[in-house]
Symmetry: C2
Subunit: 388 residues, 2 copies
C-alpha cells in the first residue's frame, strides 16, 4: 500500500478584477493557507504551481519567483502548464510525489492574472491554449469552441438554452454566498436568457469571466498529519488524461473522453463511485461544460445533463451530487491556472464548516474536475472527509 495523502490546509485570494501582481495574489492565498495551519513552519519540501500566462509579468521560470519571500524559498518548485487544468495537474504531481515517500509536505498552487490583457489582445491570449493549427487559424476562441459543443449537444440530445441557463442560475446563487467569488449576486432565468449573445447559443451568462486570482493547498503524507491537524481531508484518488487539442480530431464532441478516463482512474480501487459523491466542483467555464462534465463523469447518462440541471437534481436537495457549491468558474471566476486549486479550496471550506451560506449538510465525499482547453487535458481528484 502506498501511503495516504492528506489536504491539511488551503487558501485563496479573492477572485475578481485585481490590480495586484500575480506574486501578490499568490502571497494573499498563501497567507490564508498559512493561517489555517497555525503549527506549520511555512516550509514545504516541494511545490507545484499551475499558471498559464502569468499576466505577462514573469513568463518563464515563475515557480521560483512565487516561493521567494516565503519560508519555502529554495525548495524545489515546478511550474505546470496544462491550460485551464494547470493546477489540477500540479495537484496530481504533488499527489504522486507524496505517495512516493520522497516528499513529505507539498504546496500546490494556481495563479493567474488575466485582466492586464483585457485592454489588449485578450481573445488572442486566451486562445493560445486552443488548437493552433486549425482552430486558432480559423479565428476560433473558446466561446466559439464551446458554442460548437453546445450546438452539437442540442442537435443530438435536444438540450435547450433554458437548461443551460439553469446552470448559471444555480451557480450564481451559490456564488452569492462565497466571499472569495468574483460575482456574489444571484440571477434569474429571465435575466440569464435575456443577456447579450456571445457565441450562439452561449449568452453572457453562459460564459465565465476574465478573472485574476490565486489558490494554494498544503498536502502532507499521512504520518505527518498529526503535526498539522486532527481533521485531515484524504486525497483518495487522482486521475488524469489527455485528448486531441482540436475538436475535429475527436470522434464525438458531445462528450469529453478525457474526463471519462480521468474520472475512472480517480475512482479506481477506492470502492466508491459517482453515486457516492456529496458534491463536486466541476469545470464550468461555460454552462455547457458543466453538462458535459456531469455526463462524462457518469453522474447522468449522455444527454441527461440538461434535464437534470433544469430539474434541480444537481442543486441543494437534488438527488445527485450538488454541483459547484462554490459558485463554480461561472460565479466564483475562472483565473485559468488557479481554478483547479480553487476547486480544492472549496472542498476544504465545505468539510471544515467554512462555507457559510453555501454549506452542504453532512458532506463527506467530494470530487474536483479540472479541464484544459475543450477537453485536451483533464484532471480529476477525489476527496474524503477524514473525521466524523
Amino acid at each position: 500500500m502506498s501511503r495516504k495523502v492528506a489536504l491539511v490546509s488551503a487558501g485563496m485570494s479573492r477572485f475578481g478584477s485585481r490590480p495586484e501582481t500575480p506574486k501578490a495574489l499568490f502571497d494573499e492565498a498563501w497567507r490564508e493557507m498559512a493561517g489555517r495551519a497555525p503549527t506549520w513552519s511555512g516550509k514545504a519540501d516541494e511545490a507545484w504551481i499551475g499558471t498559464v500566462g502569468f499576466g505577462g509579468h514573469q513568463p518563464g521560470n515563475s515557480a521560483a519567483l512565487f516561493l521567494q519571500g516565503t519560508p519555502s524559498q529554495g525548495a524545489p518548485a515546478h511550474r505546470v502548464e496544462n491550460a485551464c487544468a494547470s493546477s489540477g495537474f500540479a495537484l496530481r504531481n504533488a499527489f504522486l510525489a507524496l505517495r512516493s515517500g520522497a516528499v513529505d509536505t507539498a504546496v500546490v498552487a494556481g495563479v493567474e492574472s488575466m485582466t492586464p490583457f483585457t485592454k489588449g489582445h485578450r481573445g488572442y491570449w486566451l486562445g493560445v491554449s486552443g488548437d493552433t493549427e486549425v482552430e486558432r487559424a480559423s479565428g476560433l476562441t473558446f466561446p466559439g469552441v464551446y458554442a460548437m459543443m453546445a450546438r452539437a449537444h442540442m442537435e443530438k440530445f435536444g438540450t435547450t438554452r433554458d437548461q443551460l441557463a439553469a446552470v448559471a442560475v444555480k451557480n450564481h446563487a451559490f456564488g452569492a454566498h462565497n466571499p472569495h467569488a468574483q460575482f456574489q449576486k444571484a440571477t434569474t432565468l429571465e435575466k440569464a436568457l435575456a443577456a447579450p449573445m456571445v457565441a450562439d447559443p452561449l449568452g453572457l451568462f453562459d460564459c465565465c469571466s476574465t478573472t485574476d486570482g490565486a489558490a494554494t493547498l498544503l498536502l502532507v503524507g499521512e504520518e505527518r498529519v498529526p503535526e498539522f491537524t486532527d481533521k485531515p481531508i484524504w486525497l483518495t484518488g487522482s486521475g488524469a488524461a489527455t485528448d486531441t487539442l482540436a475538436l475535429h480530431d475527436r470522434k464525438d464532441f458531445t462528450t469529453v473522453a478525457a474526463a471519462t478516463q480521468a474520472g475512472a482512474q480517480a475512482f479506481k480501487g477506492t470502492g466508491k463511485s459517482v453515486a457516492d459523491l456529496d458534491f463536486a466542483e466541476v469545470h464550468d467555464c461555460f454552462t455547457i461544460a458543466e453538462l458535459l462534465a456531469i455526463e462524462s463523469l457518469g453522474l447522468v447518462k449522455p444527454g441527461q445533463g440538461g434535464p437534470a440541471a433544469a430539474a434541480g437534481r444537481t442543486n441543494v436537495g437534488g438527488d445527485l451530487a450538488t454541483i459547484n457549491p462554490s459558485g463554480g468558474l461561472k460565479a466564483k471566476g475562472h483565473p485559468l491556472g488557479a481554478s483547479g486549486a480553487g476547486q480544492a479550496v472549496e472542498v476544504f471550506e465545505q468539510f471544515h464548516g467554512l462555507a457559510g451560506g453555501r454549506a452542504l449538510a453532512d458532506a463527506k465525499l467530494a470530487l474536483t474536475h479540472n479541464v484544459g482547453g475543450s477537453g485536451a487535458t483533464c484532471a480529476v481528484h477525489l476527496w474524503q472527509k477524514g473525521w466524523a
Copy 2:
C-alpha cells in the same frame, strides 16, 4: 524501500537549426527512443514534457499535442516549464511518480524550437525566463547576466578568459564526435579567444547557440524492466532546488546555491559522492556556467574550476569526472526545454556503447545537472549503469 526507477530507452532529434515544427522534432526523438526499445508497445502510463516557449506554435496545453499520433495518445501528460531546466524538472516528476507505484511507465521529453524567433525578438523571448522586475527592465539578457557572474568570478578568484576558453575547446572537441550535435567541429584556444565579444568577458565561443531540438526518455519501475531490457540504467538519485530569480537578491553570485542543494539531495542515501562520478553532463549554457557547475556540485573547491579546466582535469584522462562528453550545451546545442532530457540521452549512449568517438571507457556512474535562468531552478540526477 521505494521501488527503483530505470531508464530503458532514450532518443533525440539532431540538435541545430531545424525548420520542422516542434511536434515533428518531438516525433523524431520519439522514433529513435522507440527504435531502441523494440519490445515496447509505445504506450506510456504518463508523460512529462519540458518546453519553454514551444517556438510560438502551440503556446498552451502543448503536452496533449505532443502525444497526439503516438501510441500514448490519451495518456496523462504534463507540460513542465522551469526555463532551461524544464526537462530536468520533468524528469524529477517522472522519478517521483514511478517511485510512488502509481505509474509504471513514463515518458520524459524536452522540446524547443528557437530559430523561428531569430528573425524577430529573440533576445526578448529568451529573456522571459530572467527576472522581469529588475533584470529584464534594465535590458539584461542572459549573456549579460552570465557575463556579470563571470566578471565576479574573475574578480574573486582570478579566473581568466583562457580558462573559460578551455571549456569551449574541450566541449567542441567532444561535439565533433556527436552526430546529434549542432556543431560537430573542434576549435582551438586561439580561435575561441579571437572570436567576437558578446558580453564582456564572454566571447562568441563562451556562449551556447540558438538551437531547435527534442529529446525523449523512457523510464519504468523496476519490476517492469525485464519487458524492455536486460541493461537498465538505474536512476538512483534526484535532487532539485530553487533560488531567487535575480542575481542581486543572492548573497553571492560566484556560486550557484541551487546546484549545491540539488546535488546534495541527489546523492543523499546513495553512498556515492561526486568523487565516484565517471562523467557528468552539466549545464554549460556559457563557459562560466560549467565552472560554476563543477564548483557548486563540489567536484572542485570554489575558484578551482578555471584552473581545473585549463589543466585538463575535466577532460578525458583527467583526474576528475569527465565533463560534458556529449559536447555539452556549448557544442551539442541548447534548445532550452530539451537540454535536460538531452543530457540523459548522453548517459544512455555512453552506457550502451553508442557514443562512438566520444566514448568513455568503463563509465558506470554519471550525473546530469540542468539549470534554469542564472540558477533560479536546478535539477540534478544520478545514473548508475545496471550491468557489468
